[in-house]
């Protein structure tokens, strides 16, 4: 299926203040692949992920999602396919109650009410958040906000998932269930995280970003067990590999 392919060709991106955050990124992700994006702080992971849903447009180079080239004209259509979870959940939860927030996307997709309700409930229960349904987002803890932000995206049933530090605020049990949830997601996904154990668990492939370039790209087991490569990028071996 060609419509779940993600392709970056020589993508450059410069922020308005002149910071060159991406300097020639190229890779291709085929349907169903699960890819981790790792790298030091400021390496360009978040910037890269924001290209997937057209929040940012490349300064030069080309991003292809499915059979569409990302441009100002196609980004509306691309957004329907790509579900993105941002690094800061407060940016993502903008409706007055958790229920309304999770329902926002499905309603905009034009689903009927019974269907929307069903999707909201199932998405919330998958992140253990059904009890939060009627709360306003500002009364949630940081981890609960993350969980709801994930549910809000899952409720749209996207073709491609892009997540930026999804596990940052989660307690160990919620992190476990997030890992389970990610494993059940059949389509292509990109996960940026400093939680290398999570990447090792969820993603079969891993891309290392350093100073806006792809430094390494290959099977997670190979990359995440390469101590020299990791340490050159401010990372260290995943805990599960340190014991061996």
């Amino acid at each position: 299926m060609s419509h779940h392919i993600i392709e970056f060709k020589e993508v450059f991106f410069r922020y308005p203040d002149g910071t060159a955050a991406l300097r020639g990124v190229s890779f291709r992700i085929v349907h169903g692949e699960s890819v981790g994006v790792v790298g030091a702080n400021g390496a360009g992971k978040s910037t890269l992920l924001q290209h997937l849903n057209g929040c940012l447009l490349p300064t030069s180079g080309q991003v292809t999602i499915g059979d569409l080239n990302l441009t100002a004209a196609t980004r509306g259509e691309i957004r329907r396919k790509v579900g993105s979870v941002f690094q800061n959940p407060d940016d993502q939860l903008f409706m007055p109650t958790v229920f309304d927030d999770v329902a926002f996307g499905p309603l905009n997709l034009g689903l009927d009410k019974a269907h929307v309700r069903e999707r909201v409930e199932s998405a919330l229960s998958r992140v253990n958040g059904l009890a939060l349904k009627n709360k306003p987002p500002h009364h949630l803890s940081a981890g609960e906000k993350s969980a709801v932000a994930i549910a809000a995206v899952m409720a749209m049933e996207p073709d491609i998932l892009a997540m930026d530090e999804p596990a940052a605020n989660l307690d160990p049990r919620s992190r476990r269930s997030l890992i389970g949830l990610l494993k059940t997601f059949q389509h292509s996904k990109l996960v940026a995280s400093h939680d290398l154990d999570l990447i090792l668990d969820v993603c079969e492939r891993c891309i290392v970003i350093g100073e806006g370039r792809v430094v390494a790209d290959g099977p997670s087991e190979d990359i995440l067990s390469n101590r020299t490569l990791l340490e050159a990028n401010n990372l260290e071996l995943p805990l599960s590999l340190q014991r061996r």
């Binding site: 940016d91 926002f104 929307v116 500002h138 995206v153």
Partner: protein, 269 residues
Amino acid sequence: MNFHTQYFDLGRLDRLSYRRTAVHSLDPRAKVIATGLFLVTVVSFPKYDVAGLVPFLLFPVLAATLGEIPIGFILRKVLIVSPFAVFVGIFSPFLDTRTVAVIAGLPVSAGWLSFASILLKFALTVSAALLLVATTSFPGVCHALRRLGCPPIFVSQLLFLYRYLFVLAEEAMRIVRAWDMRAFAGRGRGATVFARLVGVLLIRTLDRAERIYQAMLCRGFAGDIPRLGTLRLRSVDLVFVAITAVFLGACRFFPVTEGIGLLAQGIWR
């Protein structure tokens, strides 16, 4: 009262709306209409009519009692904003010095009368609005406004105001806390530092607005905020609106206070 307690008080207004009482379970639209009628009626009273306004106090008192909203809490909120009304009305006693009545041997000027009426109108309208939010929740009010035909852009603005008021307050609190921790013994506490903190807050807010808008676009936003409609107008709601309208009409067009006064005198004799 400092910033932190104010912030948590805001949250309290919010939590009051989670209760389940007869007032809370009325349809939000009915409550919005009733409150709207109440506001219009109160504001429409002539400048010098204080006695006529008194019966209207019954409305907030009843709503607070039936809705189990602590009256002290509402009064405190009214007091916090009252300097505004005092400012608006304070000049009339000096400008309008005609004596209109003599109470207990003291002459009462028209100016004082209109000042009292301004304060009373203010207290009535503000407490009614607060009670509406405390018994309906702010989103509930917005939802009702939308269903009553308010333009979507206006309702979206209100919803965002509510949602991000808290985020902004938290942001401000974080900045103040971080600054407080690193400014010692009068150093770094000047006006210039303060001005820069405000600048930082503004920039963070703009950045955040941009990110939120992006997040909304990512979830298919196209101008209107849809919501699952669960409102159902029951006969109770209609009865409620009807009774309110009759009560307000009666208090507006008949001298109820005088009537009660005469009645009391009658019993007295």
